[in-house]
């Protein structure tokens, strides 16, 4: 029930949680108890530890959801998701992109049915003498583009909408 860290290895889910921190670390991983001590940082991506009585040097790297772990001449790839989703922190809640301020459309770069990727420039608007790119808030498909170049719009106008997430 306690907070646990959820990984998957070859598509198999694996939970890791802490049982006790002292005098040695007791960790419950894959439903087995693992004893760890003498964790020491070698550099930012390498540490040594004594795990179940054996000393190991571990190299690791993180690439988005992937964690690479290498020790004993063997590399393992796990996946891990942070508990807080990135879209959540940005406060993206729906599929409609609204104007934060009134302005005029400089140009549109997308059409209904287009596949877009997170960060793609969907439209460029001008407001208060500044050009602002409206970016795709996530990967998805454009449902509707509600404005055309040179059109003016008010605050909260619905500029572009995305299809519902699968």
């Amino acid at each position: 029930m306690a907070q646990s860290f959820n990984f998957s290895l070859d598509e198999r889910p694996i939970n890791v949680s802490l049982i006790k921190c002292s005098p040695v670390l007791e960790i419950l991983a894959n439903e087995l108890t693992v004893h760890v001590s003498s964790v020491a940082q070698v550099n930012s991506n390498c540490f040594t530890l004594i795990i179940d009585g054996k000393k190991k040097t571990v190299w690791w790297a993180r690439d988005d959801d992937a964690i690479y772990i290498r020790f004993d001449g063997r590399t393992h790839t796990l996946s891990y998701r942070d508990a807080i989703s990135a879209s959540q922190q940005a406060g993206v809640s729906d599929n409609v992109i609204k104007a934060d301020m009134p302005g005029i459309v400089v140009n549109t770069n997308c059409n209904a049915g287009d596949s877009v990727k997170l960060g793609d420039v969907l439209i460029v608007i001008e407001s208060m003498k500044m050009q602002i790119s409206i970016l795709a808030p996530r990967d998805g498909v454009i449902k509707e583009v509600n404005i055309v170049a040179n059109a003016t719009f008010e605050k909260n106008a619905e500029l572009v909408s995305l299809e519902e997430k699968e």
Partner: protein, 535 residues
């Protein structure tokens, strides 16, 4: 420091009888606590699951650092009230660890009548906010409550220490720079809306979380406006429009993760530097406590045997070992922390009271927290002792306690009767935390004593009126009084009424105190100062 030499014979018949009795009490406690914590009608469990909600204890477990303790307060609050309709007084409070920092948890229990506040709920929440204030502990509110339980509003709303006190305490905490975080999992209705509003940080779960002064039914009644809970005070309204809440979350898990990350940003607490030595497990097993505590409230036992099973290495530096011996005083360490201990080994005489008062002053001089271990029938009575000034000596003990600037803690080990409760830092004397053992009894006097006294009064009444003395009637007075006392003297009654911060298994005493002491160090020592002692 020398180790206490235990002379308990663990193979004696008495030890074994005590053990069976007290172990039984501990089992009974565990059972009652389990019921209060987990036994819920299936329909309530299903209702929460249907809303995608976790059970409140699940939320707490996920919020706390794994592999760290949680000291829960007053699990059995309200256990003898409202016909058992409000287990744990419908809320969960305690000290836990989040990102390595001690925090107070205040969680509504929405698995009980929608988390509605009963009078004892309010008392328990006000108390935990007091604990936060006294110890300067940051507090995390896990909000999911329908608001005040309306049928009992007169007992929870109007008075000084009722509902308004919660928000007064929250504001006080804010004034003291003590951080507050609200995680809004469900509704925060009416007064409840102020819990997140008065918090420094708040996270709200999209879809289920809502904050409003009046819920949809009340709004409809008042203005005719028809509106859903989400439209009225949901996540998007409060995080995008009103600014009442700070962080939106898509799920309870995410809200908890965001909450943990918020706590991670908080500065490390600056604790005052209490003398700390290397931690040593007690030499004698805490399990022996079951065999030491007598089965009968009238039987005495040596409190040093108890101390030996609570303190580090069973080591104890006894102060004035030969003077006023009914009050054991001395220094020890618990989880490494230096403490001064006052423990009863019999009735308080003039010498014991003076010794205790002096020792309390020494602890204050030395900035050492004080632990009171109560097993007290009271101060010695009789002409001789009155003549020696037992009242003014007892007064000095009370004054020394009240004048203390160091944290105080009290364990109700067995009996706590009459003025002895005052002289040993009872609830009224602001111990930072006070815990009872399941065998504990409390009252203005012992039950038999009271029954005898009242039967005696009745007899004199009858005699004065010249009526015939009916022994059966006297017996009735005796037994009714005894029964009433026994009911109200029990640890369960005391904890139901929140006279303590919870009943603990005697073997848990050391851990509970470790957490209590560690947490107490967050609040700086107050100014020293005593009143006028009558000599």
């Amino acid at each position: 420091m020398a180790r206490i030499k235990s002379i308990i014979q663990t193979d004696s018949i008495e030890f074994q009888e005590n053990y069976r009795h007290n172990k039984g009490l501990a089992e009974e406690l565990k059972l009652k606590q389990r019921e209060a914590r987990y036994d819920r009608p299936q329909k309530d469990i299903d209702r929460l699951a249907g809303h995608g909600k976790m059970m409140p204890r699940e939320r707490i477990e996920k919020l706390l650092d794994p592999g760290t303790p949680f000291l829960e307060f007053s699990t059995l609050a309200a256990n003898m009230a409202y016909k058992g309709d409000s287990p744990s007084a419908s809320c969960i409070t305690g000290i836990g660890i989040v990102n390595g920092k001690e925090v107070i948890i205040n969680a509504n229990d929405s698995s009980v009548k929608g988390g509605a506040w009963y009078p004892l709920t309010v008392k328990k929440i006000v108390r935990v906010l007091d604990i936060a204030i006294e110890n300067r502990l940051p507090i995390i509110h896990l909000c999911d409550s329908a608001g005040g339980f309306l049928p009992l509003q007169s007992e929870l709303f109007p008075d000084k220490y009722m509902a308004g006190r919660m928000f007064r305490n929250q504001s006080t905490l804010s004034k003291m720079n003590v951080k507050q975080l609200a995680l809004v999992f469900g509704h925060c209705t009416a007064g409840g809306a102020y819990v997140p509003a008065l918090s420094d940080y708040s996270v709200i779960v999209r879809g289920t979380g809502a904050v409003f002064l009046a819920g949809p039914p009340l709004v409809k009644a008042a203005t005719g406006e028809i509106v859903t809970a989400d439209e009225l005070g949901g996540c998007d309204l409060h995080t995008q429009v009103s600014g009442t809440c700070d962080y939106p979350a898509d799920s309870e898990e995410e809200a908890i993760a965001i909450g943990r990350e918020i706590v991670e940003q908080w500065e490390c607490p600056k604790k005052w530097p209490l003398q700390k030595d290397e931690v040593e497990e007690p030499f004698y097993s805490a399990d022996d406590l079951y065999g030491i505590i007598p089965t009968d409230i009238k039987k005495s036992f040596d409190m040093k045997e108890v101390i030996a099973r609570v303190v580090d290495g069973s080591r104890f530096h006894e102060y004035q070992p030969a003077y006023g011996t009914t009050l054991v005083c001395g220094y020890a360490n618990i989880w490494g922390y230096k403490v001064g201990i006052l423990a009863n080994n019999g009735v308080l005489f003039n010498e014991s009271a003076l010794k205790g008062a002096h020792f309390i002053e020494l602890c204050n001089q030395n900035n050492t927290p004080i632990l009171f271990m109560q097993n007290i029938t009271g101060f010695m009575v009789g002409r001789e002792y009155e003549a020696k000034g037992i009242s003014k000596d007892g007064a000095k003990l009370i004054q020394a306690i009240v004048g203390s600037h160091v944290p105080k803690f009290t364990i109700m080990c067995h009996g706590s009767f009459g003025a002895g409760n005052y002289g040993m830092c009872g609830r009224a004397y602001d111990p930072r935390l006070i815990f009872s053992w399941p065998n504990h009894q409390i009252g203005i006097m012992g039950g038999e004593q009271a029954a005898k006294t009242l039967a005696e009064v009745k007899l004199r009444q009858l005699e004065r009126r010249g009526e015939t003395v009916d022994q059966a009637e006297l017996d009735k007075v005796y037994h009714e009084t005894l029964e009433a006392y026994q009911h109200q003297m029990s640890a369960y009654y005391a904890t139901s009424e929140l006279w303590d911060d919870g009943i603990i298994d005697p073997t848990d005493t050391r851990n509970a105190l470790g957490i209590a002491i560690s947490a107490s160090l967050n609040a700086p020592l107050s100014e020293q100062g005593y009143g006028i002692f009558r000599f």
